[in-house]
Amino acid sequence: MENITLDVNGERHFLTVDIRMSLLDALRDSLGLTGAKAGCERGHCGCCTVLVDGRRVYSCLTLAVAVAGAGARVVTVEGLSRAGPHRLQKAFIARDAFQCGFCTPGQLCSAVAMLDEASRERPSSASGPSSEGPALTETEVRERMSGNLCRCGAYQNIVAAIMDVAP
């Protein structure tokens, strides 16, 4: 067991965790933040996506002790809506961008980071490394959101919701 300090959604938490504990399990089981979901738990589905120092990662493949050791700040879907629903959450509701909702927290966290990446002109394989400042076309959004699967197949509305918010 290891004593760690985890910075989540702007609050510091003092936890005693098994070294083997994933960030996902620490969030869900130790902190009661059940927004991030355990889907495949192998980094294939994206349900567990959270932001670590502003970057989207799979919390199922991240050790809690490593995040604490790096002094990194974690933001979960719960942290997106502290001042009322995030504009992406509103767009998801307006576009009915889900059926069962299980993948939605991961989709939201991923989309928040994706919009940030695009605003900083980070490339994707859809735009190609030579293009500058790619417009967020539907093709771009689909490629950039390819790390999040939706078992219900609500992609059409997920993409539409994200494009509503994209610049």
Partner: protein, 328 residues
């Protein structure tokens, strides 16, 4: 998951010593491959030495055209680096063709190079696998699976090498910088990965405590004309059925020099020197490119399930070279 200890050293020598002193130790950085293996029960280290606190995070574009890349640079950051995109587009393209945005945010350059095969039998602890458990046999060789290497395989292992980045790095003459117990050394990336032979459990020439500290890309002006093309079951977030990295230097309508490396076909990134020899001094034509591909693939060993990879590799190389030469 078996219990393990966790250390977070603050210097390279400290990290190397920690691993050198514990036979059951492994380095971990992004952890995307290792955590999966821990969960699957196919890796059971006694100590994880987390190297992400080490000062190996820089990408330096050198005045001579070279680029020095720290081992801990995340795949997403390397792919987005302006000088990498301008001087070595093949490297950026290979990175962006692999995994997903989340994994690219986590995975590091060094971790990418030492990631292990996605052979389904390696990943399944219930099946024999000489790479996972030496001497247990090779379920893949017995199965006639599609997921078998066409080149570089041995009787003991037919597992395909998984990395996209390594394929691109082989095309730009990259050198891997390693810190070991007895000091630093430099290994051409084409010599980093081993053919399986009788010891498939060893993927690379690295010793137990060897730590990759960085990758150097020497000056290679012709690499501004380079491409990576990947063909998979899906357009995104899947491993290569076939991939190809090409670098081309043109002189008029002739190929002056070239680098060609195949991924998805072999037990290591496959530098196609015979194909390069066919192309050098020859014309920029689809026929010539196809002939070069088939020369390289002439001793490919296929089974029915993966025989399609020969024409797929040929056509992928032709299309990628034509694109690189501006003739697409």
């Amino acid at each position: 998951m078996k219990p393990f200890a966790y250390e977070r050293p603050s210097s390279v020598p400290e990290a190397v010593t920690l691993v050198a002193e514990e036979p059951g130790a492994v380095y971990v950085a992004g952890g995307t491959n290792l955590l999966d293996h821990l969960k699957l029960g196919i890796a059971a280290p006694r100590l994880l030495v987390d190297v992400t606190g080490l000062p190996l995070n820089a990408v330096e574009a050198l005045p001579d055209g070279g680029i020095r890349i720290g081992a801990n640079v995340r795949n997403a950051d390397l792919a987005a680096h302006p000088e990498v995109r301008r001087r070595r587009p093949v490297v950026s393209q290979a990175l962006l063709a692999g995994a997903s945005p989340q994994l690219r945010n986590m995975a590091t350059v060094a971790g990418n190079l030492v990631q292990r095969t996605r052979c389904p039998y390696f990943q399944n602890p219930a099946t024999p696998c000489n790479k996972r458990q030496p001497g247990s046999g090779c379920a893949a060789a017995a199965s006639r699976t599609e997921h078998r290497a066409l080149m570089g395989a041995s009787e003991s292992c037919v597992a395909v090498h998984p990395s996209d980045l390594a394929v691109a790095l082989c095309a730009v003459d990259a050198v891997v910088c390693v810190q070991g117990r007895f000091g630093p050394r430099r290994i051409p990336v084409t010599a980093l990965h081993r053919l399986p032979g009788a010891h498939p459990e060893r993927d690379t020439v690295l010793d137990h405590a060897d730590l990759i500290t960085g990758v150097e890309l020497p000056p290679l002006p012709m690499a501004t004309r380079s491409r990576y093309r990947k063909v998979g079951d899906r357009a995104s977030f899947s491993f290569a059925l076939v991939s190809v990295a090409v670098v081309v230097d043109l002189e008029g309508d002739a190929v002056r020099d070239t680098r060609i490396v195949f991924g998805g076909l072999a037990t290591k990134p496959w530098r196609a020197r015979r194909a390069e020899a066919v192309l050098r001094g020859g014309p920029v034509t689809a026929d010539r490119f196809a002939a070069a591909a088939l020369t390289e693939l002439s001793d490919a060993r296929t089974v029915e399930a993966n025989a399609y990879k020969v024409p797929l590799a040929r056509d992928t190389l032709v299309a990628t070279l034509l694109d690189a030469c501006g003739r697409a």
